[in-house]
């Protein structure tokens, strides 16, 4: 089955066993492709014990995402570089650099479309963006956050930024939008923490009705966990305050384009037809059974211009099962529980550079 077929079939419709039978040869083919096109990838994989082709998904070689921060790994000639993606990172931190050619870039767009239309339907809905317009004003290249917003804007129409330049809720923009579009389905998009702190928290007083909205959000739970806000609390509060029930978070990363793991109605994350996850013990790197927390490995058929089809992330997650999710989706379902803790190094060398 080709990638096109996996795009065309309804997402989340393939039982896990069938899906693995489809993904395995395709991923093996990608490994072989990158081995022949990316010398760095070849150097690494040829040093590993496990020789391709893999007989199970969990035997596929994987690269730690951190490698893309230090090295340029690419399977295309420089003149075919169509787009360079960079990860978000605080100043001074190394960022990943991911090279896309036209094919991979268009597959990435198509992949995102297939995933989003599974919850939004085929039509572009009116769209509220929980962010400030100034996000897009930067003359420099887009930040990762801005790129996320721009990516989502293709699924909406009449986009309205609902925060002002000071990140405060623009009440009149919101009420104008709701006046025009509030009676039919519309889309809300934003980053998890901002949606909670700058949007929902400010809506408490106003009694706004968002029951027709579909909220899509991403960005991680770290800040919200500090406020003891779980996904469940997030859902409950939105329902209580605004009547909003259709909430979908997603998990994804710049380093693996097109693999976006979207939340189902049961609150778990699901892999689309062309991607999958494996949870590994962060110490032994062995595959973890369902229910045991480990580091998340992501697999995807999209990355062709760079060897990113099998990556070990620095995020911890738990697999909860496959095919038996209560929302009816097929495939593995999991939750993300945070980052792998960074440990301090000991020794004589500079860990914190000395300054006076």
């Amino acid at each position: 089955m080709s990638l096109q077929d996996l795009f065309e079939r309804p997402q989340y419709s393939i039982p896990q066993q069938n899906k693995e039978a489809i993904l395995l040869p395709a991923l093996n083919e990608l490994t072989a492709y990158h081995l022949s096109r990316c010398p760095g990838y070849e150097r690494i994989v040829s040093a590993l014990k496990q020789k391709p082709p893999a007989r199970r998904l969990s035997d596929l070689p994987y690269l730690p995402v951190s490698l893309f921060k230090q090295f340029e790994l690419s399977s295309i000639d420089p003149e075919r570089r169509f787009k360079v993606l960079t990860s978000s990172g605080t100043t001074g931190q190394a960022v990943s650099r991911i090279f896309l050619d036209e094919q991979t870039a268009s597959d990435q767009t198509l992949a995102l479309t297939k995933i989003m239309t599974s919850i939004l339907g085929g039509q572009r809905l009116p769209m509220l963006i929980v962010d400030s317009k100034k996000l897009l004003n930067s003359r420099e290249k887009l930040s990762a956050r801005a790129a996320g917003v721009v990516g989502m804007m293709s699924f909406g129409r009449h986009p309205v930024f609902v925060l002002n330049d000071d990140m405060e809720l623009d009440v009149s923009a919101l009420s104008n939008f709701l006046h025009k579009f509030g009676d039919a389905p519309f889309l809300i998009f934003g980053f998890t923490f901002m949606v909670w702190a700058y949007f929902l928290e400010k809506l408490k007083a106003t009694g706004t009705d968002l029951s027709n909205a579909i909220l899509v959000h991403s960005g991680g739970w770290k800040k919200l966990e500090e406020l003891a806000v779980s996904n469940q609390v997030f859902h409950e509060r939105f329902r209580e305050v605004t009547g909003l029930r259709r909430i979908y978070s997603f998990y994804g990363m710049v380093e693996q384009v097109g693999s976006v793991f979207l939340e189902g109605e049961d609150g778990y994350l699901y892999a689309p037809n062309f991607a999958d996850v494996i949870i590994r013990d962060p110490r032994t790197l062995e595959e973890c059974p369902p229910g045991v927390a480990g580091v998340i490995q992501v697999l995807s058929l999209i990355p062709k211009s760079y060897p990113g089809h099998s990556l070990l992330t620095e995020d911890l997650g738990v697999l909860h099962g496959a095919d038996d999710g209560s929302c009816g989706r097929h495939g593995k379902y999991f939750t993300v529980i945070g980052r792998v803790p960074k440990t301090e190094l000991r020794g004589c060398s500079d860990v914190h550079a000395y300054s006076h």
Binding site: K49, L345, S349, A353
Partner: protein, 409 residues
């Protein structure tokens, strides 16, 4: 800004700093005076009876190192340094700047400075680890218990202050010796702060270390002896999470291919057992950092295989040591290389290389290899198992000499 004095327990203003320095006796006694010997004996006893001594091996190691027999050996070495034309006298006030992160190694250079009769001012790192805190508390207690008229009473002080160049500058202007431990950046930053015209400086920047084992010699050992070599290697590498300057990061097998691969197979198996029997455990973040490091090394060096034996042991085999970068992730990751002989190492040695732990070579081979290197790197050759044993010779210095002035007559 407040400056905390760890030994006297006081807190002073920056304006009182000069008074504080004035109070420190720069040359409290003669080298190896009875006052010094008594103080160190007391300190050694205290440390060995410390309730945390079992938890922090650093404490026991220091206690052992300053026990009377070992100080007596140092004293005799010191006597031998003097001759019928010259004597050694203290330099004066020594300003110690330990690394910004953990590590108690600077305590040893403080002891070396103290035994030859200097006064000492230590600038404490901003993050004081429990083991360092335990050590310093015992030192402070021992100083506190000295009689009021004991000359050592006012010869030691530890200061801690938030990063402040002015304080470092003020002390630097007044000290006779400045000792800098730390990364290369720390060393060069502090080197920019002037010393007085007659002062000297000792620097202990980033270093890199490795281990060479003669494969044939290893193969002829019996089971028990082979195990004990693995145990020694474990102690060298894992005690400071493989991040000490002297912790081995490369293991070279010297000999023909067959001997090397036979020795290698046995050794890693025994090291795995040793690790399993120890309490050493790799943390999650460290485990992934090692993975990233080993994969990254395949992009830089001539890597033939990457093997995770267990979370605590990754081995990156290389054909050639040429492109091994002198950075490291720690936590139990070793480059492994087969070499024909010690001489083959000559081309790879760099100035940054500090300690070479060895097994299966006689002293003459080591000496001629050191001669061959002729100062291009490796300041220290020690038998396997002794990498972390501090000695009078460190990073190319003879500390007994370096903390003293020679007066000729």
């Amino acid at each position: 800004m407040k400056i905390k004095l760890f030994v006297s327990g006081a807190e002073i203003d920056a304006t009182e700093l000069n008074d504080c320095i004035d109070r420190i006796q720069p040359r409290p006694t003669q080298p190896f005076s009875l006052h010094i010997l008594d103080f160190l004996e007391g300190l050694s006893k205290r440390l060995s009876q410390h309730p945390k001594a079992r938890v922090y091996p650093e404490i026991l190691a220091l206690a052992f190192w300053i026990r009377p027999a070992s100080i007596e050996r140092l004293r005799r070495d010191f006597q031998k340094l003097q001759d019928d034309k010259s004597i050694l006298v203290p330099r004066g006030l020594v300003f110690h700047i330990p690394p910004a992160n953990v590590d108690t190694i600077f305590i040893y250079s403080w002891v070396m400075s103290m035994v030859v009769g200097n006064g000492n001012l230590i600038r404490l790192p901003s993050d004081i680890t429990p083991q360092l805190d335990a050590l310093l508390s015992v030192v402070a207690k021992c100083v506190g218990e000295l009689a009021q008229d004991n000359v050592l009473k006012r010869s030691i002080e530890c200061v801690s202050y938030d990063h402040n160049r002015d304080v470092t500058t003020a002390i630097s202007a007044r000290c006779d010796v400045r000792v800098i431990w730390g990364g290369d950046r720390t060393v060069s930053t502090i080197r920019g702060i002037p010393l007085s015209a007659r002062a000297v400086e000792l620097v202990f920047p980033d270093r890199y270390s490795y281990c060479v084992v003669a494969a044939k010699a290893y193969n002829t050992l019996n089971d028990k002896e082979q195990k004990s070599v693995a145990q020694d290697f474990f102690n060298d590498a894992y005690w400071f999470d493989q991040t000490g300057c002297a912790s081995p990061r490369i293991l070279c097998w010297s000999g023909n291919k067959n001997d090397c691969s036979r020795a290698s197979n046995v050794f890693w198996k025994l090291l795995r057992q040793t690790i399993r029997h120890s309490s050493y455990q790799t943390e999650l973040g460290q485990s992934l950092r090692k993975l990233g490091f080993s994969y990254g090394s395949a992009l830089k060096a001539d890597v033939t295989s990457i093997t995770r034996h267990m979370p605590e042991l990754d081995v990156v085999a290389v054909d050639d040591l040429t492109d091994i970068s002198r950075t490291h992730c720690g936590g139990g990751l070793f480059y492994e290389a087969f070499i024909d002989s010690l001489a083959e190492l000559t081309q790879y040695v760099e100035l940054k290389d500090q300690t070479l732990t060895h097994f299966g070579f006689d002293l003459e081979e080591i000496r001629s290899f050191a001669r061959e290197l002729n100062g291009r790197g490796v300041d220290r050759f020690v038998p396997i198992g002794k990498a972390l044993e501090f000695g009078r010779y460190w990073d190319g210095y003879d500390l007994l000499q370096a903390f003293s002035k020679r007066v000729s007559y």
